[in-house]
């Protein structure tokens, strides 16, 4: 049994090289068909995302193409000279190939550590190979195990916990303050890129009402139109603040536009209801003292940034426990594959052994009874074939069952027993 993982990613190749050998859309299916035609005895799967392109091949020693042959096939398929991408490629073999796929599924190889998209992309790669029938028992087992490992690493280490972008941390903070947003009003002060990005995330919360205010009314109109909000003239800021539950402020003002005294008056108008202010502006739009007012949560961009950094650091700490899980699971996956392969070998040998004995005895019988006609010979052959199948039914069923069990002992005692009972070789 042999396994090969050949590919590149954001660490090994620049974007233009990755793009040149990527398998977008239906190109993956075409490539699977092409590789399968070129290496018919090998199992093949392709993982292609914006940050990585990987080809997995598995099978017997003879069936799996060499790294060079696979590179040539890749160059031919993309009509790109191999020299352009060859030096950016990595290749892993056998257990290292399995461990690599597990690391990928666990998002340890991702640009954003712990990101959730990759597990879906591994699932897509597996489904595409299943659809094109280019995958066999080895890659079936490896990919299914990889999906399991991806989930296990996330649930046991919390690698995916804690958001890494300012806008998504802001949304988490909003969820910690408010339960529902359908009855809430979001006020956006300013209409720049950051306001747009934060609104994009806040839109997932489905706020009941959006108000946009900006010194330039035209830009406020554009933002309001995009997010289905109302425009308030900038001189109505106090009124807008009194109506808002969540405030996102992103102006380019050189001094705070709201001081503590002003906001205290706003809170009195709001009957001291909970308020969340996300001050994304640099320098600040809201006086930091506003954060001391009861029932007002004031977050500055630095606070959100600090949380993303803390989350990043926390995720980095989970890498070692994740690698420990991957090491254990790789060993288990390899042991399972070897175990299944051994059981498969024995089943094959058992079939060959029984076939040989049946054919030998049948021919001896036919030689002893030359008068048997064609119909009688067929009937005898059919009977002997059925007899052989009936004798082997239970041993085969037991072997298949043993192959499905996780191997606690190497080799499984049943495999040894069948070998000894039928005098099969160790190969």
């Amino acid at each position: 049994m042999k396994l090969l993982a050949l590919g590149t990613d954001h660490r090994h190749a620049p974007a233009d090289v990755r793009e040149a050998i990527a398998f977008d859309g239906s190109r993956r299916e075409e490539a699977l068909d092409a590789l399968s035609a070129e290496f018919p005895a090998a199992e093949v799967a392709i993982l292609s995302t914006c940050n990585r392109v990987e080809i997995y091949a598995a099978g017997s020693e003879e069936a799996v193409p060499s790294t060079g042959a696979l590179i040539d096939a890749l160059a031919r398929f993309h009509k790109v000279p191999a020299e352009r991408f060859e030096r950016h490629l990595f290749d892993y073999h056998d257990d290292r190939a399995i461990a690599h796929l597990f690391r990928v599924a666990a998002s340890l190889e991702s640009l954003v550590l712990g990101e959730g998209q990759i597990i879906g992309q591994v699932k897509e790669a597996y489904s595409a190979a299943v659809d094109r029938k280019t995958i066999g028992s080895i890659l079936h087992a490896v990919f299914r195990h990889a999906l399991f490992v991806g989930k296990k690493v996330r649930s046991e280490t919390g690698l995916d916990q804690g958001k890494l972008s300012i806008a998504s941390v802001a949304v988490d903070v909003a969820r910690d303050v408010f339960d529902t947003f359908v009855d809430k009003t979001v006020l956006v002060i300013g209409a720049g890129k950051m306001a747009d990005l934060t609104l994009q995330h806040l839109a997932d919360l489905r706020p009941g009402r959006v108000i946009v205010t900006n010194r330039t009314p035209e830009r406020a109109e554009i933002a309001a139109k995009k997010w289905g909000g109302q425009v308030y003239a900038f001189d109505r800021l106090g009124e807008a603040l009194a109506e808002a539950d969540v405030v996102v402020s992103t102006t380019a003002a050189s001094e705070p536009i709201v001081n503590a005294e002003t906001y205290k008056r706003v809170q009195r108008k709001r009957r001291n209801r909970l308020a969340l202010i996300l001050d994304i502006a640099i320098p600040r739009d809201f006086d930091p003292k506003i954060g001391d007012i009861d029932n007002v949560m004031l977050y500055h961009v630095d606070d959100l940034q600090a949380q993303t950094e803390a989350n990043r650091a926390r995720r980095a700490k989970k890498v070692d426990p994740a690698l420990a899980i991957i090491e254990t699971e790789t060993a288990e996956c390899l042991a399972n594959l070897r175990h299944k392969q051994q059981a498969g070998d024995i089943l094959r040998q058992l079939g060959d052994y029984a076939d040989a004995a049946r054919v030998r005895e049948m021919e001896a019988l036919f030689n002893r009874c030359p008068d048997l006609n064609e119909s009688q010979r067929n009937a005898i052959a059919h009977t002997l074939h059925r007899l052989q199948n009936q004798f082997l039914h239970h041993p085969r069923a037991a072997l298949r069952s043993a192959a499905a069990d996780p191997p606690n002992e190497h080799p499984h005692p049943l495999l040894n027993a069948v070998r000894r009972l039928f005098g099969l070789s160790e190969s």
Binding site: G158, V177, D179, R271, N272, L274, G291, N295, Y299
Partner: protein, 310 residues
């Protein structure tokens, strides 16, 4: 350890059938199981285990079933009604809170941490019941001859019990609000996989609990006052207005009245209301078991039934 030994002895004991097994249940059996449930919940501070939630729910459920069996069996054998003695009242209160904890565990997301607030309270109340609470009647010595007095006395107890349950819930919601608010004010990210309810959710739970608790406590106290006057006229015995239990219960009622009033005062919203909820619970705790633990005499289930009867 004592709890494990207790269980082993119970399992290996000479109990005959289920009846014998239930008869051998002690407070330690369910308190220990609740303790393990809390320990299982606390494991989240150290490691992330998928099975943690199942262990916590399973142990809480087991503890609650054992407590139910204990209460049913003891109540049947001793012919005790729900709120006759301080010991029983506290066990019933912890049983109801245990059921609420179980409900919240199952209904909330698995990272939710309401159990970290509710279960210590359940254990505290069981501890207070076993350690300080009397097993004699709340009003031992005051006489309860007529069925009418018996009925209204039980109604008084049940209303105060229901009010206490909601006071405890208001306290838990208040605590969760204060912890979450403090975290957000200090811009700290959530840790240890703990998910607290949003401020709005805690506020809503707190408000709901106060709104329900206040009429229950008011009705319970009113019935108590009327009973006191009736008993005074009929038998010449009464619980004095200066009795520590009466004072602490009235103080709790006043805090609740303030809490309800504060709902309509915008400047009182948020932290102050939550702190008042904590204060209301402290008065409740003092009234329910503080007197016994501190050995303060009271005519109404205090450490020494001799005090306060005029």
């Amino acid at each position: 350890m004592i709890w494990i030994v207790g269980w082993i002895r119970l399992a290996l004991g000479t109990c005959k059938g289920m009846g014998g097994l239930i008869g051998k249940l002690t407070v330690l059996c369910f308190a220990g199981t609740y303790g393990l449930a809390l320990a299982s919940d606390l494991v989240r501070f150290v490691v992330r285990w998928n099975s943690r939630w199942y262990a916590t729910v399973g142990l809480t459920l087991l503890g609650w079933i054992v407590q139910t069996a204990y209460l049913a069996n003891t109540g049947f054998h001793d012919a005790t009604t729900l709120v006759t003695t301080p010991f029983w009242s506290l066990l019933i209160l912890s049983w109801i809170l245990g059921a609420i904890d179980l409900y919240l565990l199952v209904r909330s997301p698995r990272t939710a941490s309401s159990g970290l607030f509710l279960m210590p309270m359940v254990l505290g109340i069981i501890f207070a019941a076993s350690w300080g609470a009397k097993r004699t009647e709340w009003v031992g010595g005051l006489g309860r001859s007529s069925p009418a007095v018996e009925f209204w006395g039980t109604t008084h107890g049940l209303l105060l019990m229901a009010g206490s349950v909601f006071t405890c819930l208001a306290f838990v919601a208040g605590l969760m609000y204060l912890v979450q608010s403090n975290r957000l004010k200090h811009k700290r990210p959530p840790r240890f996989g703990i998910a607290l309810p949003s401020l709005e959710q805690s506020e809503r739970l707190n408000r709901g609990a106060i709104v329900i608790a206040f009429p229950l406590l008011t009705a319970g106290l009113l019935i108590g006052v009327i009973l006191n006057i009736v008993l005074n006229r009929a038998q010449g015995v009464t619980i004095g207005w200066t009795d520590p239990k009466v004072i602490s219960t009235m103080a709790m009622w006043v805090v609740f009245a303030v809490l309800l009033h504060a709902r309509y005062r915008p400047e009182m919203r948020g932290r102050r209301i939550m702190l008042l909820s904590v204060l209301a619970f402290l008065f409740l705790a003092f009234s329910l078991f503080g007197l016994e633990i501190l050995h303060i005499p009271s005519a109404h289930g205090g450490a020494k039934a001799t005090g306060g009867v005029s």
